[in-house]
């Protein structure tokens, strides 16, 4: 077991910087999830730690020991690859034994560890089979087995569930979580799936363009996103991001959102430029006056564009007046968009397409962000 430290780590491929001066500490025994969109540098970070890539600058330590000059073999880490990377010509037993053979382990000890890993993952009946004869879930388990059999200091998992169907993903996700807790091995887990990140991670680091946007416990990230990117990335559907019009009335700063002028109880922060509201904070309410200056609730009226029925609840998408913003792939981090307002509503009453609806939420539920997209703590100026 060991903690992992990245100190001012930078990685550039040619002239293109993928990770720029990253600092991160993963505690001993912790499962830390690196979450972010494709190309954000999360897999590169994992490969740097594995020794499959060399950092351009900075230092990486495992258990306090600098490992930059060491090859993958000397780092005592195990990695589960996205496509499992099982050796096709070896049986399940051969795959599990391979890392032990590479370390010159005695046959009896190899046998003992292989059987223990196989038993832990329910692979015993499959020991004589080759990867091509296994289902996706079984292959995934073999990949996990090959990682745990070595008893490494650190586990690295690079999107290990992305090749599984939805049902298996949920099942194996739970198994990975249970296994990691039982073994207590420091784990770095890379995913672009926020559900995996939220359910598995002791802590989650949200990454974008090689920079950690926010690091914290899953609930913390969800409840108090540090910036528009994190707010717009977490949640399904993610937070509705809006660009209100501001006005000062009787010394108080008011914001116009969806036709309603609102003020939060604590006042709208001076630096506020953007607002966000989680879909589950919205409910169906009575339509208010469009110029109701006393409102402590936001009320957005619009027509139902589509409804996703999930059984116990529905996701309702509302076409509403007012500017929404969305995360951008372009130069700026976000852009104005003719987006739809998402609301997570109970299964009844039923809503039809084109139906006019007013969605309301307490103004206190709004998240405020400044010009640069950084979150403004509630009540802060």
């Amino acid at each position: 077991m060991a903690d992992v430290e990245f100190r001012a780590v930078r990685k550039a491929f040619g002239g293109h910087t993928v990770i720029s001066g990253l600092d991160l500490t993963v505690q001993d025994g912790e499962l830390l999830v690196l979450l972010g969109p494709s190309g954000c540098g999360k897999s590169t970070l994992l490969r740097l730690l594995a020794g499959l890539e060399q950092a351009t600058d900075g230092e990486i330590r495992i258990g306090g020991r600098p490992v930059d000059a060491l090859g993958p073999r000397a780092r005592n880490i195990a990695m589960v690859f996205q496509n499992y990377a099982l050796y096709p010509h070896l049986t399940v037993r051969g795959n599990l034994e391979f890392p032990l053979r590479m370390r010159g382990m005695k046959r009896a000890e190899r046998e003992r560890r292989t059987l223990a890993a196989a038993r832990a993952l329910g692979l015993e009946p499959l020991l004589g089979k080759r990867p091509a004869e296994l289902s996706g879930g079984q292959r995934q388990r073999v990949a996990m087995g090959r990682a745990i059999v070595r008893e490494p200091d650190v586990f690295l998992m690079d999107e290990p569930l992305s090749n599984l169907d939805a049902r298996l993903r949920v099942q194996i996700r739970a198994e990975i979580g249970a296994l990691q807790r039982r073994l207590g091995v420091t784990t770095l887990y890379v995913t672009h799936d926020q559900v995996e990140a939220m359910t598995l991670g002791d802590r989650v680091a949200v990454m974008r363009d090689g920079v950690i946007q926010q690091l914290g416990r899953p609930a913390e990230l969800y409840e108090r996103p540090a910036n528009l990117f994190v707010a717009g990335f977490l949640g399904s559907p993610p937070m509705n991001l809006l660009e209100p019009a501001f006005e000062r009335r009787d010394g108080e700063r008011m914001a116009r959102l969806g036709g309603t002028w609102i003020r939060s109880a604590a006042g709208i922060p001076e630096r506020a430029r953007y607002a966000g509201i989680r879909p589950e904070c919205l409910g169906i309410g009575a339509s208010g006056s469009s110029d109701d200056a006393r409102a402590d609730r936001l009320a957005i009226q619009g027509s139902v564009e589509s409804v996703e029925v999930l059984g116990h609840e529905r996701i309702v998408y509302l076409r509403a007046p007012g500017s929404m913003i969305e995360l951008s792939d372009g130069p700026g981090p976000w852009r104005s968009a003719e987006g739809l307002l998402a609301a997570r509503l109970p299964a009844s009453p039923a809503l039809e397409r084109e139906e006019s609806v007013t969605l309301t939420a307490p103004a206190a539920e709004l998240h405020w962000f400044d010009e640069d997209g950084n979150a403004i703590a509630s009540g802060a100026g």
Binding site: A78, M79, Q82, N83, A85, P88, M102, R103
Partner: protein
């Protein structure tokens, strides 16, 4: 209505294919049938369809081959020389292809370009300089000198290179993380998953060099180290000229290639397909 032209087209197409097949297979059939006939009938029947019909089958011509020339010695030389070329060639070219496909080193791109450039230089163009070079070294008239210049083969390097590019990189990375170095990764992970490439390169090298004539002619003088192509040329000049015997020699010379192809056909097809498609 539309069925007749379609059927006619099919019949014409098959007729054309059959004609081509006959053109290509006729010399081989002529050789096999001729090898079983008395010598005087081989040329006498050459102008008729009887050339392809064995009427009286006899092994006499085959017996004559072994009696008149040291066929066993020629065969042994060919086997040893080709064995060396294929055996060493697989190792050397696989290493080279792997280094070009996977390892990072200065000048890799230039080296790949050089390999591709060498691909278009015919051997005949360098045969004489190579002859002088090796003569200057005093290296002549043995099996090794017939094999060594052909061990590194640009086509084989390129076939391996394109095959290795198609192998999932994660397999090798997993092996490295599991504790294998470059050589162990190559021998334990890459090699067992590249059987198709090895088989097709083996066949390509073997086919290229089994019929090699010019180089052994330049480099050898003693019958003991001369390969089959020089043997058949020698046989041809040996009086009396017996066409039936020459046909039998030809069949015996082609036989190992045919056996090799039949045995490895599955790998050969797969190898050509995989190297071609993935490359």
């Amino acid at each position: 209505m539309s069925r007749t032209p379609a059927r006619l087209r099919a019949v014409l197409a098959y007729a054309l294919l059959l004609a081509f097949t006959l053109v290509f297979i006729a010399p081989v059939l002529f050789m096999i049938v001729g090898s079983l006939k008395p010598d005087e009938l081989v040329l006498a029947e050459a102008g008729s369809l009887r050339a392809f019909l064995p009427e009286s089958v006899s092994p006499d011509n085959y017996r004559a081959v072994f009696e008149r020339v040291p066929f066993g010695a020629y065969l042994l030389s060919s086997m040893i020389v080709n064995g060396l070329i294929v055996g060493l060639g697989l190792l050397v070219n696989a290493f080279a292809g792997y280094a070009l496909a996977r390892l990072r080193w200065w000048g890799r791109g230039a080296m790949l370009g050089l390999v591709l450039a060498v691909l278009v230089i015919p051997f005949e163009a360098i045969a004489i300089p190579l002859f002088y070079q090796l003569s200057w070294l005093g290296w002549r008239d043995d099996w090794l000198v017939q094999a060594i210049p052909f061990v590194a083969n640009p086509l084989a390097i390129f076939l391996f290179y394109s095959f290795f590019l198609g192998l999932p990189r994660e397999l090798e990375e997993a092996a490295r993380v599991d504790g294998a170095g470059v050589l162990r990764t190559f021998f334990l992970i890459v090699l067992p998953n590249a059987k198709a490439a090895f088989a097709s390169v083996a066949i390509v090298l073997f086919l290229f060099h089994w019929g090699m004539y010019l180089w052994p002619l330049l480099m050898t003088t003693s019958e003991a180290v001369r390969p089959l192509p020089l043997g058949i040329a020698n046989f041809h000049t040996l009086p009396p000229l017996q066409w039936g015997d020459i046909m039998a020699f030809g069949v015996l010379m082609v036989l190992p290639v045919l056996i090799l192809f039949v045995v490895f056909q599955r790998w050969f097809v797969r190898g050509v397909a995989s190297t071609g498609v993935k490359g």
